[in-house]
């Protein structure tokens, strides 16, 4: 059987900031949705279904907030699904929405992800003590720091690589009007002089806590033909999960990430990702995850990822730009972060990324991960209609 080709025809984001005191949760999500509709030149009446995602409900203190958000998202009388796959949720949500179109169950779907972190405290929201289970050690940084250290030890990467990533992403963010952190006076020395939080992760090598939402309009071939702007076409999409903790788990390069990327490349007909992909929006909440994921996603051989970063390959003007938007390191409304990666990849192939546009980008990868580096969601979007 053949799948319906899926097109991204509308993208909307909020200006991500530390605290949006001026809007409710409903106001925040509606802002992104309205912008996505405006981008697609569609109205609420054109939307057949809504697929919404966010990270844990404890971050805002609202259980199943999609129930309360139905009105704000024009979902009344329509199907509404709520996806939750930890940090990868923004990506998973877009994939579930994409499947609705691909399966020809619905023609035009609004998908949206958000987090309003200022309503609560994400670090403690992640640190509720549970007997006999591994706590996240006071937020995500404590959980991931040992795996970064393991990567450095395994590959012999010099300890300067992490600061290069942070310096690059924060400079890229200056070109993205929606990015949370706009550090106009950023220097490499400032990153390297920032306080050590979770050795080896420094303050300036971590993501901020943001309020923000991201929305996309996905549609079928007929819908795409009416699109006023060039669509981004979904060439491949996949999710993979593995257990949190078990003997033999490779936290540095999880098998689920490798399998997920391989599935996406197979669907998209990609044989050499390093050459065939023009831009990558990668989920990098701590700077060292850029070289780690370069290897995990097949852009570099094992142990070689840090060399691409060090050589400037991942810079905005390098030959494999990673996180031209400034990435999670510059903007992190947790539940939305994955969808922002997917949406920014789509912006690139639509040629709509403004000052952070990668010239001539034809194929871009959006990547998200979550939990204990155990949930992965990715899609590959292209400027051309997929072949099959």
């Amino acid at each position: 059987m053949s799948k319906e080709p899926v097109a991204v025809v509308g993208i909307g984001q909020t200006k991500h900031v530390a605290a949006r005191h001026d809007v409710s949760i409903a106001g925040l999500v509606r802002e992104a949705a309205v912008r996505a509709l405006a981008d697609a030149e569609l109205t609420w009446a054109d939307i057949d279904a809504v697929v919404i995602g966010k990270a844990p409900d404890f971050f805002e203190g609202v259980m199943m907030p999609e129930l309360y958000l139905a009105d704000a998202l024009g979902a009344v009388g329509k199907p509404m699904l709520r996806v939750h796959t930890a940090g990868s949720v923004g990506g998973s949500t877009a994939l579930v929405a994409s499947n609705l179109v691909a399966a020809r169950v619905h023609r035009t779907v609004l998908t949206l992800a958000f987090e309003k972190q200022s309503e609560s405290n994400a670090m403690w929201g992640l640190s509720l003590p549970v007997p006999f289970q591994q706590p996240l050690l006071a937020g995500a940084g404590g959980f991931f720091a040992p795996h970064v250290r393991a990567y450095m030890r395994r590959t012999g990467a010099p300890d300067t690589v992490g600061s290069l990533v942070a310096y690059k992403d924060r400079r890229n963010a200056l070109k993205n009007p929606y990015a949370h952190l706009h550090e106009h006076d950023i220097t490499l020395e400032k990153v390297q002089a920032s306080p050590m939080l979770w050795d080896p992760i420094r303050y300036s090598e971590t993501c901020p806590s943001s309020d923000g939402a991201c929305a996309m309009i996905l549609t079928d071939r007929v819908g795409a033909a009416r699109s006023p702007k060039p669509p981004a076409w979904v060439h491949g999409g996949a999710m993979r999960s593995e257990p949190t903790l078990f003997a033999g788990k490779d936290f540095v390069s999880p098998q689920a990430g490798k399998d997920c990327a391989a599935d996406v490349y197979r669907q998209a007909g990609i044989n050499d990702p390093r050459r065939e992909i023009d831009a990558v929006e990668m989920y990098v909440p701590f700077s060292w995850y850029e070289p780690m994921w370069l290897e995990n996603l097949g852009f570099a051989a094992e142990g070689e990822g840090w060399k691409l970063t060090e050589a400037g390959v991942t810079e905005l003007d390098g030959d494999l730009p990673v996180n031209p938007s400034g990435g999670v390191l510059s903007t992190n409304p947790i539940g939305a972060s994955g969808m922002i990666r997917f949406a920014e990849a789509a912006l690139q192939v639509r040629g709509q990324a403004g000052e952070h546009q990668v010239p001539g980008a034809c194929r871009a990868l959006g990547h998200a991960y979550g939990g204990g580096a155990q949930f992965f969601a990715m899609w590959l979007v292209g400027a051309e209609v997929p072949a099959s």
């Binding site: 199943m64 699904l81 020809r104």
Partner: protein, 354 residues
Amino acid sequence: MARYAREVAVVAFAQSDHLRRTDELSEVEMVMPVLHQVLAATGLKAGEIGFTCSGSSDYLAGRAFSFTMTLDGVGAWPPISESHVEMDGAWALYEAWVKIQTGEADTALVYAYGKSSPGSVRDVLTRQLDPYYLAPLWPDSVALAALQAQALIDAGETDERALAAIGARSRAAAEANPHAQLRGAVPQGDYQVRPLRTWDCPPIGDGVAAVILAAGDLARQLCERPAWITGIDHRIEAHGLGLRDLTDSPSTRIAAEHAGVFEAPVDTAELHAPFSSQEVVLRKALGLGDGDGVAVNPSGGALAANPVMAAGLIRIGEAAARIHRGESDRAVAHATSGPCLQQNLVAVLEGDRA
């Protein structure tokens, strides 16, 4: 069948015994036996399943990312294609059904679980209300259902005697259900919140359900009489109770139309009506009337066992199991979420005719 690209059926269903308390069991320990049972029914192994999807709630578990632990119980190694909805498992089944429709999977494992016993579920559910205007007032789920029940009585749609009959019928039916939490004659009880008495309200309990879906000929190989999902749809309504006619459920009706419920008679209806009064609303929306022609909640329904997040999936599973056993040819299954039936899913399940 032409409605969708592929024929998809429920080929196996399993559930735990639903219990008032399970203090001695973690969620993983609750879930694992049910997963083993549903897989054993088809002979499939976890690694042979094309897609896995679950439904649960962090607020019941009292911790963020609670579903990560039950995923460990699934045995997701080598890595699996998997997703999760923060909803009743009926919506996880919907996501899995969509996945099979894309052709990317031929089988799916769907499971859902909820432990209400560690906290006060009446208080917990208030946290799913509008956080600015409604939740600060802590109106609990029974009070909100009572508003709906009173609206029905005021509209002349039912009365307390008729509601009592629904409670009695459900719990009598549950006598034949070994998994039910409340079975047989249950006293009508005192008012919980007028006009609802104890037996108009669901028991509070812990439980798990799991279903396996399969497409086309594979479904026929895995199950003697597959329960084909010939239609499935879900719709949501406004959140604010003041914006809704509580005596009606337009979302159920729209979902039923899209699922094809009204195209032919059904012989079985498994309705997720945690309160007796909600059965009145759902019967009307689904055109079931008051007659005896349709077996409504032969399992005892949510009035006999209502493990939050699994109770909707159980309705689909129970309807499918009747088809598997040859007790039904065309069944409707329904799941609900949100205060006073805000969000509703409807599925039509059919068995091949002999």
